[in-house]
Symmetry: C2
Subunit: 193 residues, 2 copies
Amino acid sequence: MEQHVNTAERILETAFELMQTRGYNAFSYADVAERVGIRTASIHYHFPAKSDLAREVCAHYRTALIATLAAIDRDLTDPADRLQRFVALQGRGLDHRPPMCLCALLAAECPTLPEEVNVEVRGFLSDQETWLTRVLGDGVATSAFCLTVAPEDAAQVLRAGLAGAMLAARASNDRTRYDTIAQSLLTALLRSH
Amino acid sequence: MEQHVNTAERILETAFELMQTRGYNAFSYADVAERVGIRTASIHYHFPAKSDLAREVCAHYRTALIATLAAIDRDLTDPADRLQRFVALQGRGLDHRPPMCLCALLAAECPTLPEEVNVEVRGFLSDQETWLTRVLGDGVATSAFCLTVAPEDAAQVLRAGLAGAMLAARASNDRTRYDTIAQSLLTALLRSH
DNA sequence: GTCTATAGCCCGATAGAC
DNA sequence: GTCTATCGGGCTATAGAC
């Protein structure tokens, strides 16, 4: 019988939380089943293979990322404000744990990931860098700030720095590390006139 | 009978290469045994548990890192040159694969790592940031360059950025990405007078 | 759609012969 | 020190009852 709250959705949400904390290789169908309150065989009904589940988790949250970026564009106009909001949203970790971007975690596992998941990871990176490049370019065009490198290079530096900051924050179990590094990074990248 | 070339050393070297490419969870004693040309039981003789092997791999290469940093200090005096050398050495990947720092990879697995390995990962981060802070501080003191943030903050930004750059390079399977991001990062951080 | 049961594999680890 | 043999467990995945 179909659950009142869609089972596939609950599986996706649970798998996302596990992947965001443990990555792909270190979570199992048994972990998901236990949390959702079903058996592993039921997960296979909705997602035949683990790679299917992981791919759909990525696709689901890439869509959410795109929506988040669109919301930033809608709510704020100043490029510097948009960047601050982006940094802050990335910094919202699960519960009270350090923040972690699914994309950054999976990037570390790339050589052992199913190719279809790797495709999503590269898409994640591309989505973020495309948006960052545009916002950074806008900032230069409107003289909101100036850059010492090209917008597309600054975008890659910013995204890489935030990913490294999340890893450092989780490794040292210190949430504040992300914010410290993120703000220093913005200070170093963006110059007011 | 003891091997002509110490078996424990060969195990350590092989385990290091596997950990640098796959991380901790995705390599097995079987992988190491096959490459070294022995049986898994023989590895257990030298390293009783997998956590023992991983800890010793980390300790071994932390020592190598310290030696490398000391060599940079010995060979070069200009702080900017020292930073460039640091970036270049980190960028030397295995074979023709993208560069990857053992520490950055393991940081992604922290929540699933044996605590004794986590201790080494934090030590790795600390070693690098201590050295970078000193070199960056030297650069400011000798007016070789100036910083827009405190040396300890710039050190964290630099290390995080390089870690993120390695992950991006490996995810997109593009070695040049590391160099591009690293140079942009240095350009943004260091200002000449 | 969810279950029980199980296949088949890989894993880390140990016992004991040599 | 290295081997063979094996244990116990976790994993992904499937078959088939309900």
